[in-house]
Assembly symmetry: none
Homo-oligomer: 128 residues x 4
DNA sequence: GTGGTCTAGACCACA
DNA sequence: GTGGTCTAGACCACG
């Protein structure tokens, strides 16, 4: 299993799981239709409480990243429901704002900040 | 006062204050040497407890954004002590990673993400 | 419990706790992964307010000495993230300066000062 | 005047003055019998409150570093009253302990710590 | 009057 | 049960 979790970071475990699943999807390691490990299996693999995994899955489902088929397992969804581009941009802005502020606070230049973000994007391949 | 706070966001109030102060500094609305509102005054303005403001200030001071002089008041600092560039970049990467992942999750293209970040940066003026 | 606290020293209680924890870690009495007493338990043992312990723990966590896992407990961390040697030396200098000044003020010779510091270091074992 | 003060460090101003006077004495820049600037003059030079200077002088006098002659000014004393060596060592130990702990916390080796302290001592010249 | 520390006690998120 | 946040209010150090 590609997921790993570090209980000692202070970051809640369920958020670590969410972030890693999103990351795997963005990078193409998980594709629409792929089966997710069951709550109980993932919990036992990661040696954590099933409730924690359930919560992560619940929120990932709310966001449209995965989809649970009652009695049939959980799968990677084909993406969040078609939001208008304007809405997607609107949701993204606060984070863009934050990355800009923190970068400046670290005395990085505009070019450096943009380039570092772009580097991370390149790590996910294509152009889409 | 330029600060406002929303107790019902779930985001801790002291973090909201921190973010807004950093933002004001990055945007140039607050400059090195400017006096910050006193803990008690800001607390009464925002209708929150002084301890909450104190905590926000405490962490901002730890980060080198502001400086408190006991008995004197609190001021905008001239920036965190000079960390090596490599260290500053190291600290910035996790956030760059996150903005990349979330942007892709929202089906934004690489160019769109980079451009949105750059727009926020431009709002802060110069190039440095 | 190895911790003790003296409220009448003038030195803030939360700093006393911090110093003692650091000391225990440096001496090897606390090792990476060891569980720290819970905030509530330590507070009741020391007959002080839980918030005071929480504050000590909060700052120790910021410094990378311990790590809190919400809902789980608090543990001794495996050390602060790798700062560059140059940065670590830079942070240490002011204290080295102070020990030098105070030692001379007490009319101790250079050799005596160095030796006293070395004695304390030897109490922490190895060479690393 | 060799003294300078930075109100924005968080460190109380009266402690900054104390530290600098002790440092100047340890380095030989101030010698026994030298006249100290008057409270009022130093306060006006440093643009700070006379009460702050007075407090610094008061504590320096208690420690035997300077001596005030009522109506006649303040002078550098010829050293703290003759404490037994054992007593001077006893007073020095807590600081030696602290420098050892903090150095180890910064992952410096025993040799490095001792050498850094010795470097600061050398800056003060002789052997006494 | 300013910030810093401590206490007391409530409520929530996490595991 | 654990840590995290917030409120309320007291007392002290500093300038």
């Amino acid at each position: 299993m590609f997921l790993h979790v570090n209980p000692s970071t202070g970051l809640p475990i369920y958020l670590q799981i969410q972030a890693q699943v999103k990351q795997a999807v963005a990078a193409g390691a998980l594709r629409a239709g792929d089966a997710m490990p069951s709550v109980r299996k993932l919990a036992s693999d990661l040696r954590i409480n099933p409730n924690t995994v359930a919560r992560a899955y619940l929120e990932l489902e709310r966001e449209g990243v995965i989809a649970a088929v009652p009695g049939g397992g959980t799968f990677v969804a084909d993406g969040p429901p078609g939001l208008l581009k304007a809405e997607r941009v609107r949701r993204f802005r606060p984070l863009a704002r934050q990355v800009a502020v923190e970068g400046r606070q670290l005395r990085l230049s505009r070019d450096e900040i943009v380039q570092l973000v772009d580097e991370e994007l390149k790590a996910f391949g294509g152009k889409s």
